[in-house]
Amino acid sequence: MSQILRRVAVAIILLLVVNPTVIAADASDEQESEIDVVGKATNHDYFEIPFGKIYLPRILLADGQWYFYSSTNSAVESGEFVLGEEGLVRADGVPVRLDMSITSHLIYLWFGLLLTFFITIWAGKRYRHGVGSKTEPKGAWQNTFEVLFVFIRDDIAKEFIPHGKHEKYVPYLYSIFMLIAFLNLFGLLPWGAAATANLTVTAILAGITFALTQLAGTKDYWAHVFMFPGVPGWSRFILTPVEFLGLFTKPFALAIRLFANMLSGKIMIVSILGLIFIFSDLFGAAIGVGSGVFWVLLTAALYFLKALVALIQAYVFTLLSAVFIGMAAEEHHHHDESSVAQTKEVELQ
C-alpha cells in the first residue's frame, strides 16, 4: 500500500514539475471583491491549490484541427485564440467544435477513479492471498473495505436484484458507490470541488446505469414497456408512451438528483459565509464581524451535514441503480399486478 501511495505521489510531483504553468495567485484576481457563489462549485480551467492555481492544459478542436496549449493564457498569447464571451474562440471567428480540455472536475474524477481502483485492487490481492478469505480481515483499511463491500452486496444488490442475477452487478454497484463517495467527499476539502456537482459527470454515471438496465431487461420488462399485459387495449395508447418516457426519466432524475444535491450544498455554504459580507455592507463592519461567529458556526454544522449527505447520495445513487436494474431483470410469473413498481413495493413489505 505504501508503495502505491509513493508511486502516486511521485506521479503527482512529476506532473507539477513538468507543467510549467504553476502560477501563484495572480494579482488580477486579488481585485475582484464580488463573491462568485456558483463559481465555487463549477468547472474551471485551473486546479485550485492552497495559495495559487495550477492552470490546466487546453485541448481544442476547431475547423478539423487540434490545438494543444498548456493553459488558457498560453492559448491567448499564441494569438490563435481569443477569449470570447463563451470561452475560447479562434482568432478568425471559427468556434471551437470540441473542447477536450482537462478541467478541475476531470482531475478530481481521475483522483476518485484512481483511489477506487487502487483500494479495490489492493483489497482483492489480499483476499486472494488468503487474508480475510481464510482468516479474519486484518487492519483498519481491510475492515472498512469489507464492511462497505458486504453492505453493498447484501443490503443493496441482494435485496433489490432478483436472486441469482445479483452477483453480476455487485462490482458495478460497488465501484459506483466508492467513486461517488470519493467525489462527493473531495468537495469537502478546502479548495476542493465535487466533480459530482457537474451535470456531465452525473449524466454519464446515470447513462451507464441506464445502459445496464436495458441490457438486464427480460422479456417481461419489455412487455411491460410496449405491450402492457392485462389492461384494456385502448389504454395502451396512453400507457405505452408513458412507460417509454419512464425509461428515460428514471436515469434523468438520477443524474439531476446527485447533481443538484452536490451543487446546492456548496452554494449553501458559500452563501451563508457570504452573509458576513452582506451584513457588514448593510449594517457596518462591527455587526458583520460580530454576526460572523454565528454564520461560521452554522457553516460548521452544515459541513457535518454535507459529509453525511455525500455518503447518503452515494448510497442513494447505488440503491436506485440496483432498483432499476432489479426491476428490469425481474421475471414475472403472475400477471395480475398493475405495474412493475407495485411488485417492488410488495416485495419491500
Partner: protein, 73 residues
C-alpha cells in the same frame, strides 16, 4: 421578476417536499412503533420514497436557481 419567481418557487418547493417527507416520516415511525421487528425493512422503504420526493424537489430547486441566475433571458 426572476428573483421573485425563484424565491416564491423555492418556498413552495420547501412546502411540498416538507409535507411529503413529513408524511413518510410519520407513517414510518408509526409502523416501526407497531412492528419494531420490521424496522430495518421499513427504514429502507422510507429512504427510497423520501429520495423520490427529494428528486422532484431538487428539480424544482434547479429551475429556481436557473431563474435566479437569469438563464434564458
Amino acid at each position: 421578476m426572476g428573483f421573485l419567481a425563484a424565491g416564491l418557487g423555492a418556498g413552495i418547493i420547501a412546502l411540498g417536499a416538507g409535507i411529503g417527507i413529513g408524511m413518510i416520516g410519520k407513517s414510518a415511525t408509526e409502523s416501526i412503533a407497531r412492528q419494531p421487528e420490521a424496522a430495518g425493512d421499513i427504514r429502507g422503504a422510507m429512504l427510497l420514497t423520501a429520495v423520490f420526493i427529494e428528486g422532484v424537489a431538487l428539480i424544482g430547486a434547479i429551475v429556481c436557481l436557473l431563474l435566479a441566475l437569469g438563464v434564458g433571458q
